[in-house]
Symmetry: C2
Subunit: 409 residues, 2 copies
């Protein structure tokens, strides 16, 4: 009798995480090695609650299920924020999970997510080995933040980068219409890593020099130098766009967005984000028209502008995880190894998931200009291939037609 | 010898205003009634400064100029914020403009814009008649706010509505992933009219009930009733999305976003917008997870998600303005008269531009629910046809390829 398997998703939404889910389902169907594929609702908590969807049935009922799933934003199976205890200290959760796994005749568990999900996959694989279980555990990477180690980049990042660069280009057209000096601050996600903010540089083209200034969290943000940078750029540009990470910090390591850092320097009491703080800086210290825009959650859910490269890779990372499982491997995460930028080529390999868990990858400082206010050509060349290609969405009543998520509501 | 004509654009950006520009240029070429078409840079101020682009040359040089122009965001000719004096009080600006018009052998002037631009077109037409000039003046409507009178709706509105509804739908997927109560406030443009905020309702479909609450500026906003509304909806919905106009006001007529109204009620000092204020209300008075998202300037420049219906109408409103000019008419604005919703049919007609100038059209109160926290089916049926259809953008290096605007930089 064939075994069943479970797939779960976790962490924050991306436009690519459902493509990985579709890739795993397709891989399992093609492998003919398993009976049923269960989707665990709301991450690993769905296993505790025995809250499952029968994904095999959904795929069999609707020929276009996997295709439509791949193109839909956020996680079809829902998410959770849950970190398993160290089993050496308390293995009660592990016992519960393995009891349910055995009851359901589970042969493999796939977790799609970021650091925390990889931590869960690593701990389950290790515990499984310890108790002599034959259940195999795989991680499939996902995060718009692009901060996982041992993989060239992460699914979700390319689509978010495409959305950010396209939005910045459209905002550039918007800012060019008036002939008067104007500064637009665009706050971009990424509290500890500047990968998303760096993608703003891809908006530059033959006629558009914006954003002229880019500030990543990897280098210290000095408000006085920022004001000098803005004044200097305004000498030669009427329309200035500044891309700034939500996570920029001052020399004391305080977030610029925090009440304390902002009020120490400029006496503001209630501020919302780094962009808003910088808007106030410019208004007070430069005295030109200034506005701030926070790209906000659309960065991680704007599937209508997903990158085809990103979705294809997300699917493959899911699909190939099944291959490694069928080979009897456990405790791995599928990862991308880039071979070249032009033409863009890569391999998919399996890496030790325990080495991915709880580590984080920042933008290398050599990819940030010495002045700390822009990124280098190397960084742009690294990002560019990841935003290439568009996907053909169906539209219904004027809106992108996504997969029904009523089971989550 | 054939005369020349001038086209100018003004007000705020939209994804459709360049389609109207393309429509006028095409109309003039097809009419064979004029020699050259000049684009005045930065609205009517380009005439004062004699700062023109030769649009005929651009269209002749590049077969695809008009098509690419139609698909590009914000005004290709730039904008201005400039209101002509009442000529009865001071006609010096009029004298300057007509001197330049005569010097350039101008036969017609087309102004694409909102209320202020229609005011300019009306005053120029009236002054022209008074001095016995044979120059003809046409207005072509444009505003995402949809607040012009004498036209069923305005170009730019349909694309903004499509962007808003699509973004709300994608945000709905984003909010559904967690099983815990969460309120997302989405602040939408429209200081005095709720048309844009109402478009959020189009995100609802067979599985998505969000946004469950919608607040327009046409009705008084009561913070206590808002909190009651949120508590009531949370009884039956885990994930609440609230669409709110930036322009909501309390019973004293003060903007909720203003420091005074917010601090009177809740003691906040420095707040940015209505969404942020409502976020604080919910956190303090309801005590659930809450975040706010400001859609911001992307509402008016996200051409990658433009409505085909909107761009087609914008083009026709420009094209047909030429027909009325060729008929010798002046002092008019082209307008849309809707014939039916299903199937969606309409006529284009010319209306008195002086009656459009300085008037504004709000959402009728009968299209808002008696509770003041949602819109009616009639309003949804009014908006739906305007967001239908997608346009095929070219992409270059992963980004939408728009027309070069180097001349504005």
């Amino acid at each position: 009798m064939k075994k069943n398997c479970i797939i779960a998703q976790s962490g924050g939404p991306t436009p690519a995480i459902n493509a990985s889910l579709a890739g795993i389902i397709k891989g399992i169907i093609d492998s003919e090695g398993f009976d049923k594929v269960f989707g665990s609702l709301h991450g690993v908590t769905g296993v505790f609650n025995e809250d499952f969807l029968d994904l095999t049935a959904l795929a069999e009922k609707d020929d276009r299920f996997l295709e439509r799933l791949s193109l839909s934003p956020a996680m079809y199976l829902g998410s959770c924020r849950f970190k398993l205890q160290d089993p050496a200290k308390d293995d009660s959760d592990f016992k519960k999970l393995f009891t349910i796994f055995h009851k359901m005749n589970i042969g493999a568990f796939f977790y799609i997510g970021g650091n925390d999900s990889m931590d869960t996959a690593a701990k389950l694989a290790e515990y499984g080995k310890k108790i002599g279980s034959d259940i195999l555990f795989a991680g499939v990477p996902k995060t718009i933040d692009n901060d996982l180690v041992l993989t060239d980049h992460t699914p979700g990042y390319g689509s978010a980068a495409k959305y950010i660069a396209s939005s910045l280009l459209e905002m550039a057209h918007d800012t060019y219409i008036y002939g008067i000096p104007c500064v637009t601050i665009v706050e971009i996600m990424g509290r500890d890593a500047g990968w998303l903010t760096a993608a703003a540089a891809l908006a530059r083209n033959s006629y558009n020099e914006t954003p002229q200034l880019i500030y990543l969290p990897e280098v210290t943000f000095d408000p006085d130098r920022f004001i000098d940078d803005v004044k200097e750029k305004l000498k030669t540009h009427n329309n200035l766009i500044v891309a700034v990470s939500e996570g920029i910090r001052n020399s004391e390591g305080e977030y610029i967005a925090s009440t304390k850092a902002a009020s120490d320097k400029f006496g503001h009491a209630q501020l919302s984000g780094a962009g808003k703080v910088l808007e106030h800086f410019v208004k007070e210290k430069v005295g030109v028209k200034c506005r701030s825009v926070e790209l906000n959650i659309l960065q991680r859910c704007a599937s209508h502008l997903a990158s085809k490269t990103d979705l294809d890779e997300a699917f493959k990372l899911g699909y190939e995880a099944v291959g490694h499982i069928v080979n009897g491997e456990t405790g791995f995460m599928t990862a991308i190894k880039r071979i070249s930028n032009t033409p863009y080529t890569y391999n998919i390999e399996a890496v030790d998931v325990s080495k991915v868990a709880n580590a984080a990858k920042s933008v290398p400082v050599e990819w940030i200009t010495p002045e700390g206010n822009d990124v280098t050509e190397e960084l742009i060349n690294y990002i560019r291939p990841l935003i290439i290609g568009e996907v053909a969405h169906e539209y219904k009543d004027g809106l992108p037609s996504y997969i029904d998520i009523k089971h989550l509501v």
